[in-house]
């Protein structure tokens, strides 16, 4: 029943997308479309969370490949992802009711937005290779249309180009993976694929192809280059969905193949996710630290979080391969928990970025500042999002990272030496990326909202509308709840864990004081509720005592700044100067920096000039050579377009003689 409802809603979403074209004349079309989408997302969310009983629901529609039909299935995992998708999707729709109002060409967005959400839902519901790939590529296609919706900027068009190219590369990889799994006989439905026995090289090939396919969609380094281009290009509520949800759908694809379809894992499967995950976490966060475009910054931090999730998944694979059910469950739970968290706070942050963009029309944070005074509510919510994503207690980001750390702490029990040597390194990468992430968000919030406005646009900013604020605060509230009451989340996830890694964490909700203990109370435990309570309590106590004992007035005065106070806002610390120490110390890990300083000699009156440009090594060492190679072949082959007829005849002649020789000999 819930599955049927879900499929019905997916169809309805598509219908809404189509209907928007007919409604294009009347003026409240965008409000109508977004509210309908929101409602359908709510329905889908409900159908995901209503109790289904133990076994998975499945159904088959007479679509797609005729002898196969389209199989759909709703089990614990897909239900979880369904919930994640539609939570964010509903929030995005609600946000867009406000945000989409000042969209100059709404008809380039409205038809595709519901279709995009429908595609993502269909991916997690699909139960055969064809349905999966159709919805997967449909998701890419619709999001492409959304990325190119602001098509009058050349960089958006370039972003859209690279995006769809990478996306279909990924799809082709997945297609080949499924071909290896079930192509020979045309038995594409997952139930059959599960039963087919796989030999080592086959599953290795499938795994590699899946990493390429899912990784290119999830933005795993080195397949990430499209992500920081495409996500900022789309309108903010779409960027939120692409960053917060679509990458998760890609992760779902990876889980589905590597934990489900491929059967029992071998230990070396875990190496790719671990290594690439660690690389993504570090490189992503370092790029985020030096970005000065707010949405690009958020996109890079998405790469970081995807990396964290892949690290957890790699650990889960390793434990599962070694038959350690409990640690596997812990790692798996951590991964899914982080999926959930990231979808929440990344949406909040993109919504906030959209609000800032709407209020100032400025994406470059070097031109912002002081918005906390003109848009206090947005500032508060954005701050909450920053705290959450910076993995600080008591919000939810910390809980999932804490769980990942706990999983790493269990990994010495893994027998393989290569894993013994890898996991600590991965742990360092994780710790570094967590800390750097905090720094990156200090910079983001501090430069955008604190200090003094650096441009007129920032000076004239106004608070954003109620819908946007409502959506953001709702998600932030969820972040807080997931942070202080993690035990419920863990227990919600554990059925999926039980199904896919064959073990579950001890039930958390009955531990005293609602604290969580992954393995045992004595080994490690954390209690978000109490931490939150204590912080609140002690802060209030301190404030109250001071206020009552020493009530002293507050006087406003110009800043002192050691006497150097400079009224000019340009004298503030800029974003790039803020990032400079990290860039100097750690930048070499991730990118190639070129600093150019033009310092006038003493006595010269012209201004000094300093600029930094930061290059992605993967682009300069991987992608540019590739495109060069293609263009080389193009140039070489192009002469064939301009031969004389008899030269063409010569080609035919040569082919004829060649084939005759073959049959003759």
């Amino acid at each position: 029943m819930p599955l049927d409802v879900a499929l019905l809603c997916v169809g309805a979403l598509l219908a809404v997308g189509a209907a928007s074209i007919y409604w294009r004349e009347n003026e409240d079309v965008s409000r109508r479309v977004y509210s309908l989408t929101g409602g359908l997302c709510a329905a889908l969310f409900l159908s995901a969370v209503v109790p289904r009983g133990a076994h998975a629901l499945s159904t088959t529609l007479p679509l797609g490949l005729p002898w196969l039909g389209m199989h759909f299935r709703l089990d614990a995992l897909s239900a979880f992802f369904l919930a994640v998708i539609n939570l964010a999707g509903g929030a995005a729709s609600a946000y867009a009711i406000g945000y989409g109002a000042h969209e100059k060409s709404p008809m380039r967005i409205l038809p595709f937005f519901p279709a995009f959400i429908a595609g993502m839902n269909a991916v997690v519901l699909a139960d055969d290779a064809f349905a999966f790939l159709v919805s997967w590529e449909f998701m890419s296609l619709t999001s492409w249309a959304l990325v190119i919706s602001h098509h009058d900027h050349a960089e958006n068009r370039a972003a859209a180009y690279i995006y769809l190219l990478m996306a279909s590369f990924g799809t082709l990889c997945l297609l080949m993976a499924f071909a290896v799994l079930g192509g020979a006989t045309g038995a594409y439905d997952f139930t059959t694929i599960r039963e087919v026995p796989k030999d080592a090289w086959k599953s290795g090939l499938v795994l590699a192809l899946t990493i390429l396919g899912a990784g290119s969609k999830a933005g795993l380094v080195p397949l990430h280059i499209w992500l920081p281009l495409a996500h900022p290009a789309a309108p903010s509520h779409v960027s939120a969905l692409m960053s917060g949800v679509m990458t998760k759908v890609a992760i779902y694809g990876f889980i589905r193949v590597s934990f489900d379809l491929l059967g029992a894992p071998a230990f070396w499967w875990s190496l790719h996710p671990l290594v690439f995950g660690a690389a993504s976490a570090l490189i992503g966060v370092l790029f985020a630290t030096v970005q000065s475009d707010l949405k690009k910054l958020l996109a890079y931090s998405t790469i970081e979080n995807v990396g964290i999730i892949f690290i957890a998944l790699g650990l889960a694979l390793a434990f599962k391969a070694d038959g350690q059910a409990l640690p596997a469950a812990l790692a798996f739970t951590a991964a899914l928990f982080h999926v959930f968290n990231h979808s929440l706070f990344k949406s909040v942050l993109f919504f906030g970025a959209g609000a800032v963009l709407g209020a100032t029309g400025e994406k470059n944070i070097e031109k912002l500042g002081g918005l906390i005074r003109s848009m206090p509510r947005t500032a508060f919510v954005f701050l909450g999002g920053c705290v959450a994503i910076a993995a600080l207690p008591p919000l939810n980001g910390f809980v999932s990272e804490w769980l990942v750390f706990q999983a790493i702490l269990l990994s010495p029990s893994l027998p393989q030496w290569v894993l013994k040597l890898t996991t600590p390194a991965v742990g360092v990468a994780l710790a570094l990326s967590a800390a750097l992430g905090a720094g990156a968000y200090v910079r983001a919030f501090g430069v955008v909202f604190l200090g003094r406005p650096r441009s007129d646009a920032a000076r004239q900013a106004r608070e954003t509308d109620q819908w946007s604020l409502g959506a953001m605060s709702g998600l932030l509230l969820l972040c807080l709840l997931a942070g202080v009451l993690p035990s419920f989340m863990i227990d919600t996830i554990s059925p999926a864990a039980a199904e896919y890694v064959g073990g579950r964490m001890p039930a958390q909700s009955d531990i005293a004081w609602l604290s969580i203990a992954p393995v045992a109370q004595s080994r490690s435990s954390y209690n978000g509720l109490l931490v939150f309570g204590f912080i609140l309590f002690s802060a209030l106590v301190a404030m109250q005592t001071i206020k009552t004992l020493w009530p002293r007035p507050v006087r406003r005065a110009p800043p002192w700044d050691c006497g150097y106070a400079d009224p000019n806002p340009a004298a503030q610390y800029t974003a790039s100067s803020f990032a400079q120490p990290v860039r100097r110390a750690l930048g070499a890990i991730a990118f190639s920096v070129r600093e150019r300083l033009d310092m006038p000699a003493p006595g010269e009156t012209r201004a000094a000039h300093f600029e930094v440009d930061i290059g992605d090594r993967f682009i300069s060492y991987l992608y540019e050579p590739l495109s060069k190679a293609v263009w080389f072949c193009v140039g070489r082959l192009n002469v064939v377009a301009f031969l004389a007829i008899q030269e063409y005849l010569g080609l035919v002649f040569a082919a004829l003689v060649f084939l005759l020789l073959i049959v003759a000999l």
Binding site: L63, R157, A160, L172, L175, V634
Partner: protein
């Protein structure tokens, strides 16, 4: 004999022939285009009638599962194209590109082309098939050259020379097949009839069949447009009137492909002969990769899509070369989807070229803004031709790649590479044409009737989501036939 006279398949040849004669004397071009449309429609009806009463076989024509697929497809595309050409030529007359005399000739030739192609598809013996393919070539040559500009004449000439060499090679192959059959089936007509050939193929002299297939492959392959015999195709598509480009891509290539498939079946029926699969696979891969690279530097919109036709013919040849029920099914599906999509794209391209007054890709920008219907249908069409879901070609490419990769990964990998490279080129061009700041346009949106265009795209969309089981069993029979 009487019963044979009333065969529905005769109508497929007779109606266009009659229409051609009528149109040759019809001076009013509006009336002419209506007659053209009507004749194509009736032909289509008879083709559909064939589905019900197949198989039937006479002394010159015969109908079986294989050629009826092609017949229905070609009559359908011929019908829609005649509809499109009605609205296309109106504009050509208004802009004075074509004179009334040209048009009389044009319409007559259109029906003659239909006639010869149907004849080639339904011909029950290899000699007749050869003759009709040759006639089809001549008619299309005349149509390609119809604008009388230097480029069009040159394209026609190139097409003519390469085509006739191909035809000659095919003829030699045909003769060889006869000589292979003659010792078994005895002298005379019998040794050229498909049915008897297929029956006794097992006893033919295999080595002679091999040599024959080399000639037939290259000869008819030239008309299919497989590399390296492709050279005529881009120019012919680019310089002729757009309806003819649509017919070329949508039909003529298929007709030639049909011939190749027939002879492939003949060879597969003979155990001792070489398996034709590898030859098809090799030519297919060559075409895909070659066309994929060639797409990048095209600056003429019709040439661009002509090269994409080469690419897709390569994919189809590859599928049939791989063989097996799954791949053959995929090949047939891909062929059908490609004809529909590519002709739709050429419909759109024709209107676009008229609306923008140029075929230079560089001068076409921002279509989705200046001509929303045209622009978006171009986007849909290109996405379809690139194998994006939920459109039909995705399904066939899914089947081709997956069935091939499961069995010969080393062959499928280059195919996938070619598809990706081609996609890169087409997407680049598409974004350039459909988005960005629109360029100046000479004609507004409303001029063109987009019914055939939308109809094709709708069909492709539906096929991508749902194939009626009747069609599927039908295709599967054919796939089994193809071995």
């Amino acid at each position: 004999m009487i019963s044979e006279f009333f065969m529905a398949s005769n109508a497929l040849v007779a109606i266009p022939a009659a229409a051609a004669v009528i149109l040759a004397f019809q001076t009013d071009y509006k009336r002419a285009s209506q007659i053209n449309f009507a004749a194509a429609g009736v032909t289509l009806l008879f083709a559909l009638l064939l589905i019900l009463k197949e198989p039937e076989s006479g002394s010159f024509l015969f109908v079986d599962d294989l050629n009826i697929v092609f017949a229905v497809l070609s009559t359908f595309v011929g019908f829609t194209t005649s509809g499109f050409s009605a609205s296309y030529i109106r504009h050509e007359i208004e802009t004075g590109k074509l004179t009334l005399g040209n048009l009389r000739f044009y319409h007559a030739m259109y029906q003659a082309l239909m006639c010869s192609m149907n004849l080639a598809l339904l011909a029950s013996n290899i000699g007749l098939m050869w003759v009709s393919v040759e006639v089809a070539t001549l008619t299309t040559v005349l149509m390609v050259g119809i604008y009388r500009t230097r480029d069009s004449l040159e394209a026609a000439w190139k097409y003519f020379i390469l085509g006739s060499v191909g035809i000659a090679l095919a003829l030699f192959g045909t003769i060889l097949v006869y000589m292979a059959a003659e010792p078994v089936l005895g002298q005379g007509y019998d040794a050229m009839v498909w049915s008897s050939l297929m029956e006794h193929a097992a006893h033919f002299n295999p080595r002679l069949l091999n040599v024959a297939f080399v000639f037939l492959m290259l000869g008819y392959g030239t008309k299919v447009g497989l590399a390296p015999m492709h050279a005529w195709l881009p120019d012919a598509h680019a310089e002729g009137p757009t309806p003819i480009s649509a017919v070329l891509s949508g039909l003529l290539l298929n007709v030639a492909l049909y011939a190749v498939l027939r002879f492939k079946m003949l060879l597969t029926a003979n155990a001792a002969a070489v398996t034709p699969g590898p030859m098809l696979v090799a030519l297919g891969l060559a075409s895909v990769l070659f066309a994929a690279f060639m797409l990048y530097r095209r600056d003429d919109i019709k040439r661009l899509f002509a090269y994409s036709s080469i690419e897709h013919m390569g994919v189809i040849a590859f599928a049939f070369g791989i063989g097996g029920p799954l791949a053959n099914f995929a090949g047939l599906l891909h062929m059908a989807m490609h004809s529909l999509t590519k002709s739709a794209i050429f419909f759109a391209v024709g209107h676009i070229a008229q609306a923008k007054g140029t075929q230079k890709i560089a001068d076409i920008r921002g279509l989705t803004q200046s001509h929303p219907t045209l622009g978006w249908s171009l986007v849909v069409g290109v996405m379809a031709i690139c194998g994006m879901p939920p459109l039909g070609i995705f399904m066939s490419e899914f089947l081709v790649v997956s069935s091939a990769f499961a069995r010969q990964p080393l062959l499928a990998a280059p195919l996938v590479l070619g598809l990706l490279i081609a996609f890169g080129a087409l997407l680049m061009r598409l974004i350039g044409m459909a988005f960005g700041e629109p360029t100046k346009s000479v004609v507004g949106e409303a001029e063109a009737s987009s019914v055939p265009l939308v109809a094709h795209l709708a069909l492709v969309l539906v096929a991508g989501l749902y194939l009626p089981s009747y069609l599927v069993t039908w295709f599967q029979n054919v796939a089994r036939l193809l071995g």
